[in-house]
């Protein structure tokens, strides 16, 4: 119940294409869902986040779609660029304990 399942494990997209990464969870106590971007040798950087009372949030080229009934959420990267090549992690925070559970990561490569 504490797991966050992330897919795909790796993704290759052409420049200008749409990158889509999916996550699913079971624990209904999760109340906050951030996405992090991590480059090699760096720590994860907060990209965008959503709360379960919102179905979609957009910031620039990044959009989170949230389906509360299905317990799924996804990250869409529009007009993907080579500079977006990184590992992306979804996460979920437990509302009672404030503990974050991270997905296993998606390695994105955007071809020029």
């Amino acid at each position: 119940q504490q797991q966050v399942k992330q897919s795909p494990q790796s993704l290759i997209v052409q420049k200008g294409g749409i990158s889509i990464i999916n996550c699913a969870y079971e624990n209904t106590a999760f109340d906050y869902f951030p996405w992090y971007q991590q480059f090699p040798g760096k720590g994860p950087a907060l990209l965008i986040a959503i709360r379960p009372d919102v179905s979609e949030k957009k910031e620039g080229r990044f959009t989170i779609s949230f389906n509360k009934s299905a317990k799924q959420f996804s990250l869409h990267i529009m007009d993907s660029q080579p500079g977006d090549s990184a590992t992306y992690f979804c996460a979920a925070r437990n509302s009672g304990t404030y503990k974050y559970i991270f997905g296993t990561g998606t390695r994105l490569k955007v071809l020029a």
Binding site: G43, A45, L46, F89, Y100, G103, G105
Partner: protein
């Protein structure tokens, strides 16, 4: 505005030794969480400190301990190091337990 800073950046130890890692939170942040990130995996929650007390703990043995100082900086101590402790150790800070976390670039710990 300095972000989360961690020291040292790299560390090599041998089995059985003890290690102390340090974290300075982002300016204004009072909550510090520590994570272990094994190669190719998502961060795993170790524990969280708020008001100088350990508030939450993940599934890590008592060999992992920590401390938070009055200036909100924090230390992670690991005793009796095992080969499996080799990982990137990340510190994340936030303003309060309910706010988004921001990560440092981590300490890469290698156990020989």
């Amino acid at each position: 505005d300095a972000g989360v800073t961690q020291s040292p950046t790299h560390l090599i130890k041998t089995r059985g030794q003890q290690v102390t890692l340090r974290c300075s939170p982002k300016s204004g942040h009072d909550t510090v969480s520590w994570y272990q990130q094994a190669l190719g995996q998502g961060p795993q929650f170790i524990f969280q400190y708020y008001e100088e007390e350990e508030r939450q703990r993940g599934n890590f043995p008592d060999r992992f301990s920590g401390h938070q100082f009055p200036n909100y900086s924090s230390e992670l101590n690991v005793n009796a190091l095992l080969l499996g402790d080799s990982a990137l150790y990340l510190c994340a800070s936030s303003l309060g337990r309910n706010q988004p976390q921001h990560f440092g670039d981590g300490t890469r710990l290698s156990i020989l």
